[in-house]
């Protein structure tokens, strides 16, 4: 399946719907679709909030594919080059008063997915995620 989304947080609902439909069609359990939805949500939100300049229209492309032993997602945008996986690891241990706010999104992606990679090709940011089945 493939779908274009607008550069807006309101599209997170469409993203969730696309994942749900894909999961039903391919008969995938919630334990696969749930984490995949969350990982894509985090990366999508980053693109909307930090990728495209404020007020600039842009598109975000998603492709989902079921392989024999995994589900693969490809996410592409035309915002300035940015590799989210190079962000520093978040602080998960400080007490409430000094715990920094933020940095958790990419951490969740890395924890929930079995594979992640970033490429800049033909003026596009390309992210590939993989979640193993079973």
């Amino acid at each position: 399946m493939q779908q274009d989304f607008g550069n807006s947080l309101a599209e997170l609902a469409s993203l969730a719907k696309a994942l749900e439909d894909f999961g039903q069609r391919e008969n995938l359990p919630p334990a696969v679709i749930g984490p995949l939805n969350l990982a894509l949500d985090e990366l999508f939100t980053n693109i909307v909030q930090h990728g495209y300049p404020p007020g600039k229209e842009g598109r975000i492309f998603l492709q989902l594919r079921k392989n024999e032993n995994s589900v693969e997602a490809l996410l592409q945008d035309q915002a300035p080059a940015y590799n989210p996986f190079e962000a520093p690891d978040p602080d998960l241990e400080s007490p409430i008063e000094s715990r920094p706010i933020g940095g958790l999104g990419v951490h969740l992606v890395k924890e929930l997915m079995d594979h992640w990679e970033y490429r800049r090709d033909s003026d596009q940011n390309t992210i590939i995620l993989r979640k193993n089945l079973g």
């Binding site: 309101a10 997170l12 969350l38 985090e42 939100t45 978040p90 998960l92 933020g102 958790l104 929930l112």
Partner: protein, 128 residues
């Protein structure tokens, strides 16, 4: 035992509803739906206003009807916990579903926020 009294029920963007309740003198915020980048700003505003109410001391966030939580929602919880902490109060979480609990755990939130399996155990812990 006083009955739960529904005080305010607000729905944001058709995706998230928040109901403020008070039970046995303890304030509870029941979240229903999706707490993500699309709804987190409204949720943060709601909880900020609630914490400005001098009647509100400790707060239970009842997550039993929260279907989905992303890092944008974690940020809202952390801000609420920081505000409470600065007034020597606390925010605790109750009844997250398995997916929400997983997000809380891998984000290291179980070490800063108490998580109770249900509302009753959160209430009895705060009452004692």
């Amino acid at each position: 035992m006083s009955l739960a009294k529904s005080l305010i029920h607000v729905t944001y963007l058709d995706m998230l509803s928040i109901e403020d309740q008070k039970e046995n003198g303890i304030w509870i915020c029941a979240l229903e739906g999706r707490l993500d980048g699309n709804t987190s700003e409204q949720a943060d505003k709601h909880l900020t206003e609630l914490s400005g109410n001098e009647e509100v001391t400790d707060l239970i966030l009842d997550l039993s009807a929260l279907e989905y939580l992303s890092s944008a929602g974690l940020r809202v919880f952390l801000m609420a916990a920081k505000r409470a902490k600065s007034k020597k109060h606390q925010v605790v979480l109750a009844a997250p579903n398995d997916g929400v609990k997983q997000v809380l755990t891998i984000s290291g939130f179980s070490s800063i926020l108490q998580i109770f399996p249900d509302r009753a155990s959160a209430l009895s812990s705060l009452a004692s």
